[in-house]
Symmetry: C3
Subunit: 342 residues, 3 copies
């Protein structure tokens, strides 16, 4: 019997419940501080306790346990945030999807190259603070969860807000930020699954994010905003569900397939498994992508019982976690595990 392992955070519950639903064994690499959370869930078959997730790396104390569990490791945002390219490459257990593509998500230049290769329209970059003329968002590198992002409309406003965040210890003194034109509209996180077994792309759904304290801005009257000195931040707290206008779906699939194809050209064996294209729909209903995630995103947690889109395809509740487990199960039963892991 195949097994699925993941790190105890982000979407571990969904991933391991999915394993159970597909009849696979579920293995959790779990920091001791979080054991009490995960012990609540009976669908977790095995816990590998660690002090830090780095113990699963090459010579780490938990590497052998993970390997001998026989599990396929499902990477997610926590792994991307905490591990370097070398770290990820050193993991001896098979990794679901393409472990080599995770680096392309973390490195801003590589990320942009892959998005360009896929033909995804992206917001124009702003060369530096001095060039800020319209609304501009400043982002930190890596998967920092939105903490410390901010919007400004002039060099002076940028410096003022940045200085406040540095003073508050949110941004490092010399930390380089990445500037993009800010495009207002409806934010959308497009969730996909590409199966190398069937050669097809599935659209799993779309979510929106709730971020703090930018979300709170909507409930503060304009006069109170102006008289206070808020610098809203973008710390991700929660996700909620949406469906798109059906007329947007052709482009949604097109973008997903372009991304799969571009990945196949740039990062063998390509974009296998779950991924997400993140962007905004403007008032012409045109999509501009500002990020991608080359692995399962936490927004899929809203669909632990399936999404409106999976209800079209599956006559049972199909979460992304369960879809991953199914792919592993199908791969194993046809001796193609190598096709779905790296």
């Amino acid at each position: 019997m195949a097994a699925i392992a993941t790190l105890g955070s982000h979407c571990a519950l969904q991933v391991l419940k999915g394993a159970r639903d597909e009849g696979l064994r579920s293995v959790l690499v779990c920091e001791r501080a979080r054991e009490s959370l995960y012990r609540r869930f009976a669908f977790i078959d095995e816990i590998i306790p660690v002090e830090s997730f780095s113990e699963i790396l090459a010579d780490g104390a938990a590497a052998a346990a993970l390997e001998s569990s026989g599990a396929v490791l499902v990477p997610h945002g926590t792994l991307v945030a905490q591990m370097s390219k070398a770290d990820v490459e050193s993991i001896r257990a098979p990794v679901f999807g393409n472990r080599h593509i995770l680096e392309w998500e973390s490195d801003r230049a590589m990320k942009e190259r892959l998005m360009r290769e896929a033909g995804l329209p992206t917001p124009p970059a702003v060369a530096g603070p001095a060039e800020i003329s319209g609304m501009t968002i400043a982002k930190r590198h890596g998967a920092a969860g939105g903490k410390g992002y901010f919007v400004s409309s002039s060099p002076a406003e940028y410096e003022k807000k940045r200085a406040r965040l540095v003073a508050d210890g949110v941004i490092g003194e010399g930390e380089e930020l990445y500037l993009q034109e800010y495009i207002p509209g409806v934010l959308a996180y497009l969730q996909y699954f590409y199966s190398p077994l069937s050669g097809t792309l599935e659209f799993f759904g779309v979510d929106s994010r709730h971020e703090s304290d930018i979300d709170g801005l909507a409930r503060i009257p304009a006069d109170a905003q102006v008289s206070s000195s808020l610098t809203p931040s973008f710390t991700v707290i929660a996700n909620s569900a949406m469906v798109l206008r059906e007329s947007l779906l052709p482009r949604v699939y097109e973008m997903g397939e372009s991304f799969v194809e571009a990945s196949a050209r740039l990062v063998r064996p390509g974009m296998n498994g779950p991924f997400c294209i993140e962007g905004v729909y403007d008032d012409e209903a045109r999509f501009t992508a500002f990020e991608f995630s080359a692995r399962i995103v936490a927004g899929t947690n809203i669909y632990m019982g399936g999404s409106p889109y999976t209800a079209l395809v599956y006559d049972e509740p199909m979460s992304m976690g369960r879809r991953i487990a199914r792919e592993v199960r199908l791969a194993e039963s046809s001796s193609r595990l190598d096709d779905v892991t790296t």
Copy 2:
């Protein structure tokens, strides 16, 4: 075996999946540019390819194919947006619900007459730009999807914003706009199904809309809004789910039944099948209706696996699309297809 047909857009996936779930054949009238989208879904039994949806009209190239498919055509927003009254009347296939009522949705004066007849409170109309004194929304006629709608608070602001949208090519030079007082509050799209077979009204759920770029406004600090020159638009991008306070439900059913009764008086055979009353709850929890849709709305797509309200009534996932298919199936098995179509 009865069949369900619809145009390839808006809520076609939901409608045809519903047909499949009820054991009916599913037929899609599909523009060639969108075939690749719909070919992904195995529940679509037959595709009638067209260059334009007008080919299903009286003498159109696809009219015979549609007719010989034996399908009941389910109208939705795309049909309403693209076809005139004469077009709709010319369709030879049976149309689910009441095809004659669709005109009442498209024509502003007829729409108001039906809403008045149903006793629905509506926002006071503003006679013309010169009369603008409080917050006023300007809307375009027809089911334009919200593109080009805007809010202003004075004649000068109206003219300035209108001029900008005309210059941008969003609004035609001499295009007449419709002005209503703007009522702030919680927007709600109330989804109903009236069954002439059982004589009962079912409340299917409520959704909220995500519109661009007005939705983005909430994340732009007030000072940045004031210093920029945004004229937010209301292009519908997505929908999400809500439930209402239970104490609001008596009035929800009351409004739905009044609407059904008013329709029976004004537009034989009345409001059969799905419809939607769209409005806003103010700070007294009073509902003011600003629109209705006399057919299935795209907001039902969020409930492809059923809604909180259908979970009360059906012990299986019941989408609006499936409910339509069930009505057709029940009508056919009791030889009452004429009662549910026109």
Copy 3:
């Protein structure tokens, strides 16, 4: 066969559908004005019609009918809002959970004491209008549904807004308001169920609220807000679904368990059954609690077909209403009804 009764409002549909799903009899205490709503639902086995809910109290006209129905009464927000401590204590039917704790929800001082005992961080209280220096929310006592709440940033602004609401008849002339620092961020209503039978705490989900007309503020451009004289209110209209970042869950369970333990110390037999901790996540993802509800909340209505979190634990649709019915069923079958009622 055990039975479940509740008052016809708030979440009665969910509670009684849950009873039916668990094979229990369902009994509704229903004001005549709302009978037509509830008669629509076939899962309601018995209706006890009343002119006013007070008829179920000790000597009330409906007390005997309720008692002889043999039902366990499930209290909800309507009961809390309309009945005093003495009223609640006088009910002769068994009450699900702990009827004595309901008072702690209604009385501001007791509420604060219980939250302190549970170690929940709360927003600093502001002693009086004269002390207002930053953004401050003014709340009315009791479960008023948010009507008349308002935010101000200075004593002058407070008095101006209060005067407007008094003039509008929303707030009573001499009505005392409760002032707290206003913390911007992502609002979250954490739904729990504590089972005294199994001794475990279950996290059922989280919802967000839609309030009028404060929600409408997000769609009014800042310049229009400033030039108008809106005093947004917080009338609850609707709820929608969210999931939290998984890394927030350990703290979510911790807070729930602290609350259960604190309740056991202060209000025997403790916090049995459903409850809710309501608060806000700030930009550090820290939770500050501003309220609790010591009974089922209306936000659970969004999960009538189960939540993303119940999908992890139950392989069938599990609403909070159904969970309550299951607890009653299990208690009855093990002769422990006294452990789950008061």
